[in-house]
């Protein structure tokens, strides 16, 4: 009964959060000084596309019509919900008109998910295992060395890490030739070994950079958590019981220190849908982050809403899942 009550009220909150978030995200760009029509005209004129003032004036009007931006903000808002609820359609992209937003997202999202879920999981595992070891055996030399390395890598701005990797592994020692896109020329996405091998190779550098940075983050937090847990009485008692160091580390320290990390992992899995903008820029990797950034710089409202909606859904769902599952993970927690 308690669980049902909790579930119902938690799910209500979930939908409220999504609704409020999307309303917020819908309104902000419309009150910013950005305008999709102006952006498109700006792009055409900045390119030097020679267009006489009379033609520009005419174009402005007809584009507004084509983009469906004629009505009031309220009408557009109603329209937006109508389209989404009646078939999950985000409408056409403005900057890449007439391509539909759904199609653009469909093309980019798999790349993002595959790269980011892989690197998130890898760095989470590495960070947590190594962090648990160093946190538990904090006085060993390797713990100190690792902690110092992580402490130094962690604050380096990500793009410096990325650039260093490119310079080092693509230029000075060209082990991973520079490339752009998710696969080499002529290799088409499909489920065969050639493609997977190629995609792995192409994704290696961006993945490495993400793992380095992600590892630093997970490692430092796990290290700190494990240090705290290692001070707990039950860890001393485990030692008293005569368990081996490894048993204590995995069954006692890690199992306890891991709990907040599981929550954090669930949330980062949610934020995957934000993409990794700087990674995509630095490694020319296809993905949702760059798509979103382009959407903002070109005031592509529909595309922006499409991507942010997915991201809001993902993060809110991750939060929901964490809240519902947490009592199963941590027996001490009760629903409230």
């Amino acid at each position: 009964m308690r669980f049902t009550n909790y579930l119902v009220s938690r799910i209500v909150t979930y939908f409220v959060v999504i609704f409020v978030s999307m309303t917020f995200v819908f309104l902000i760009p419309r009150f910013s000084p950005i305008d999709p029509v102006a952006a498109l005209i700006g792009r055409l004129t900045a390119q030097g596309n020679y267009m006489d003032a009379t033609a520009l004036e005419a174009m402005q009007k007809s584009l507004k019509e084509t983009f469906g931006l004629e009505g009031s903000v309220l009408e557009q808002y109603a329209n937006f919900w109508k389209r989404i609820l009646l078939g999950g359609d985000f409408g056409p992209s403005y900057a890449m008109f007439p391509t539909s937003v759904n199609k653009l997202i469909r093309e980019s999202l798999p790349w993002t998910i595959w790269l980011l879920s892989l690197t998130t999981v890898i760095s989470w595992f590495l960070g947590n295992i190594i962090g648990a070891i160093t946190g538990f055996k904090k006085d060993r030399w390797y713990s100190k060395v690792l902690e110092n390395i992580a402490m130094i890598i962690r604050p380096i701005p990500y793009y410096i890490v990325a650039l260093t990797l490119i310079l080092l592994l693509s230029y000075i020692f060209p082990i991973f030739p520079m490339s752009a896109g998710g696969a080499s020329i002529g290799v088409k996405p499909s489920f065969n070994w050639t493609f997977i091998k190629d995609a792995l190779k192409t994704a290696f550098l961006p993945a490495l950079s993400l793992v380095i940075v992600g590892f630093g983050w997970w490692f430092l937090s796990m290290d700190a958590l494990s240090r705290d847990v290692a001070e707990e009485e039950f860890v001393s008692f485990a030692e008293i019981k005569g368990l081996t160091e490894n048993e204590i580390m995995f069954r006692y320290v890690m199992k306890n220190a891991m709990l907040p990390q599981i929550t954090a992992l669930a949330l980062s899995m949610g934020t995957i849908f934000n993409g990794a903008l700087i990674t995509e820029i630095m490694f020319s990797y296809p993905g949702i982050g760059m798509l979103l950034y382009r959407a903002i710089t070109s005031a592509d409202f529909n595309l922006m809403m499409g991507i942010i909606t997915i991201s809001v859904f993902a993060v809110a769902t991750a939060c929901l899942v964490v809240d519902i599952l947490y009592p199963f993970i941590d027996p001490r927690v009760r629903y409230r």
């Binding site: 006085d139 039950f234 008692f237 485990a238 008293i240 019981k241 005569g242 048993e247 306890n256 001490r332």
Partner: protein, 333 residues
């Protein structure tokens, strides 16, 4: 003659601090025999907890064994717990010697069921199937009067007293020769305390092993122990059979300790011992108790008193007493 299970010879265990060594256990000697219940008594910070941890070989930085021996005598083998290999230590722990920590809600792993925590140690030693081990454990709990369904609980679902019982059950399941209990009842309420002590005594009777119990509460010692070791500032002040210590304490410190004990029919609050234990970084010269001693002599500030046997099995380290047990103090005054 009961078998000797443990001998402590000149044990020196210090704490390393930036300011220097804290001499927590300084030159301590005594033996423990089979079937004995020994109490370690003294104020907070007298080194009794350090000593019992050292007996268990539980020596972690900044704790440091300096010299001496704490020999565990198992089947003719001698194992110096102060300087022992980790592996060796793991072999004797729980099997020959067990440790019951201070009762607290944080001793058991909060995210693992009791069952699993129980089995962890059992399986390792017995190398038996989980199911068989489980049955044995259930049987054992029943014999101790514990409901077997605690095994399926998480620690936070049990009361503090129940957790402590479970821990004692774990510690005694493998029938160790020595059980160490470090303040096993502190932080529990009086009724529960009595139950736990009863349980410890029952188990000891059953196993005929020795139990070493650390407590700052003289009442606990009175109830359960055969022999008491009174520690003060890292040194032993007095050792003796429990009733002798209570009826005929020699050391001024022991007397003060016993006097501070509430008795039935008391009207007024008993006073504690005046002053506070010394700083063990720089303990006082001579007898360490001298700054607080009501019967202080000149020699007390100059010479460390030696341990003398006053009657059979009753030792005291105080300048007031000579080997024959005659008080010297009257003469001096």
């Amino acid at each position: 003659m009961a078998e000797k299970l443990l001998e402590i010879n000149h044990a020196q265990i210090y704490y390393a601090t930036l300011a220097g060594y804290v001499k927590a256990v300084d030159n301590v000697n005594f033996d423990i025999n089979e079937g004995e219940i020994v109490g370690l008594a003294g104020e907070s910070g007298c080194g009794k907890s350090t000593l019992i941890k050292s007996i268990y070989g539980f020596i972690k930085y900044p704790m440091k064994a300096i010299s001496g021996e704490i020999n565990l005598l198992t089947n003719g083998n001698k194992l110096n717990m102060l300087f022992v290999e980790k592996e060796e230590l793991r072999k004797v722990r729980w099997k020959y010697i067990s440790y019951v920590p201070q009762a607290s809600l944080h001793v058991l792993n909060p995210v693992t069921r009791i069952k699993k925590q129980f089995l962890e140690s059992v399986k390792r030693e017995h190398n038996v199937k989980e199911k068989e081990a489980m049955d044995e454990v259930k049987e054992y709990l029943k014999s101790l009067g514990l409901p077997p369904d605690v095994l399926d609980s998480f620690p936070h679902q049990l009361s503090g007293g129940m957790q402590q019982r479970v821990i004692i059950a774990m510690a005694t399941f493998l029938k160790p020769r020595i059980v160490l209990a470090d303040e096993p009842t502190t932080a529990l309420d009086v009724v529960v305390q009595r139950g736990i002590l009863q349980m410890l005594r029952d188990i000891q009777k059953e196993l005929k092993n020795s139990l070493i119990i650390v407590s700052h509460d003289m009442g606990v010692h009175y109830q359960i122990t055969h022999k008491i070791v009174i520690m003060y500032a890292g040194k032993i002040a007095e050792i003796g059979p429990t009733d002798e210590i209570f009826n005929n304490p020699y050391h001024p410190y022991t007397r003060l300790l016993i006097n501070s004990l509430p008795r039935i029919g008391d009207r007024e609050q008993r006073s504690g011992i005046e002053g506070s234990p010394p700083n063990l970084l720089n303990p006082p010269e001579g007898c360490r108790f001298n700054p607080r001693c009501p019967s202080k002599m000149k020699i007390c500030e100059e010479k460390i008193p030696e341990m003398v046997e006053i009657s059979k099995g009753h030792f005291v380290a105080c300048h007031l007493f000579q080997k024959n047990g005659k008080r010297v103090k009257e003469d001096a005054e």
